[in-house]
Amino acid sequence: MQYVAEQALNALSIGAEYSLLALGLAIVFSVMGLVNFAHGEFLGVGGYIMYAMALFGAGDIWMILPVCLLTVVITAVLLERVAFRPVRRAPATTGLLTAFGVAIILQNVFLMGVSPRPKAVPAVAVLNTTVDIGSFTFTILQFLEAGVTAIAIVLLVVFMRRTKLGLAMRAAAHDFTTVRLMGVRANRVIATAFAISGFLAGLAAIFFIARRGAIDPFMGLLPVLKAFVACVLGGFGSLPGAVVGGLVLGILEVVLIILLPDFLAGLRDAAVFFIIGAILVGRPQGILGKKAELGDKTA
């Protein structure tokens, strides 16, 4: 029982992390059709800013967290402005290549600016402090991840339903031209999408680095792939789908760690992807995606 509760929270917190990243990918994709593969590098940006702050003596956690979030948001908005806006009208593959280019540049900035080798970032390690509730043992991080992600999702839902900009973003996902005919600036809608994706990635960066305790130039690679898989699993471009996909992915990973015997542990990721493949064979549109035939109108 105790084991089940602990592992359930563990699955929830890992799933929450994937959900945060997947949501960011999905928001940008839904408004502008761009799969931002540089999204993983936002984790790196957050990580390296934490590292730099600790290095220069500004290691207080209450300083580090807001600065990390702000830096990632600014980076996201800036990247949209300098890298993605100029290719907005270009074919989708150009956007994709631009994203890869941005990712590689950022990785090299980390690599040459700091070090090719992993660096310890103990600043947020306090989040790993364990708490005992009765006979259960959890870390603060696990509660925070699940809780903060839930709050972020609620705030996002309120934003998308109650503000004009939120309405415009939902509308733009289906029909961007007509949103412009309402007088809503395309640049504003897209910049907001990037800012939100950066904010969510900043939160994920804090959790990710607290969990790992270290950074390296290529730390964003695997997370962005998993976020992508979560998006596909949930139904690409669907925001609820991204959340569900992230959670399912987290749960699958934890369940397989538990179920697989030790000598097969190395096959965990293979098994996860096998199961996801099987789900997608049954539901090619993803768990929450709408079924569409070629030629269907999307609006």
């Binding site: 309405l167 415009a168 939902r170 029909d175 412009r180 309402m182 007088g183």
Partner: protein, 237 residues
């Protein structure tokens, strides 16, 4: 109010509109007629800034707006209900209308207008919390028109408002359009249903293969069997 002076529109190497001039005065209803592919939608797109003007100038309220982007033109008081309505299917009727008023800062005025239009179109009040996509074609067309009205435009352009609607619904839509004149609106209406459009329009233009074929009063066109035959063809109802 609107002056279009020798405007051409190109799609790549293909010229869709050839040096067309037209004007709309304040308080007028002007209709732009012509067969499929004549360049009517291209003309409206050039006026609202969705396609660039290759040659010529578009002037609104005395100012050349060629270089303004679409959003700025909407802010100046031009709006369009696009061909095929383009209601936001994933948003509720209410959300569609709120988004229609996105450029306005006068919350009280928006709320007042919303009430006025919901009184005029009770069906929209009935469907207020339903998604735009769940409405019928006619209801969607009403929603698209009211959504455009919510921005408080000076010039409203309608691209084939009767397209694909049943005859009784078409009547309703046209009644709605001619009623808008009383609200102080200026209208540019693209139509293929010439006979109906000529009933409420003051003046008419006819486009064909991107060229302006006729400019004159609606009366003139409506009452001349020769002109109707030459430009509109027999098959119209």
């Amino acid at each position: 109010m609107l002056e279009v002076d020798n405007v051409s529109v190109n799609y790549g190497a293909v010229r869709a509109v050839h040096s067309v001039s037209l004007s709309v005065d304040e308080g007028e209803i002007v209709t732009l007629l012509g067969p499929n592919g004549a360049g009517k939608t291209s003309m409206l797109s050039a006026i609202i800034g969705l396609v660039p003007v290759a040659e010529g100038t578009v002037t609104f309220e005395g100012q050349n707006i060629n270089r303004l982007d679409t959003e700025s033109r909407v802010a100046r008081g031009i709006t369009v209900t696009p061909e095929g309505r383009h209601v936001f299917a994933n948003l509720t009727v209410e959300e569609n209308l709120i988004l229609g008023a996105a450029i306005r800062r006068d919350a009280d005025g928006v709320a007042r207008d919303l009430e006025t239009y919901l009184d005029m179109f009770p069906i929209l009040r009935e469907r207020f919390k339903q998604s735009g996509g769940s409405l019928s074609g006619g209801e969607q067309q009403m929603l698209a028109v009211v959504r455009a009205l919510m921005s408080g435009p000076k010039l409203l352009m309608l691209d084939e408002p009767s397209l694909g609607l049943a005859p009784q619904i078409v009547d309703q839509i046209f009644k709605l359009i001619s009623g808008l004149r009383d609200h102080g609106l200026t209208l540019l209406v693209v139509e293929q249903n010439a006979q109906e459009a000529l009933k409420f329009a003051d003046r008419a233009y006819i486009l064909s293969s991107g060229n302006l074929e006729f400019a004159g009063t609606a009366e003139e066109l409506r009452t001349s069997a020769d002109l109707m035959k030459a430009y509109i063809g027999e098959g119209v109802s």
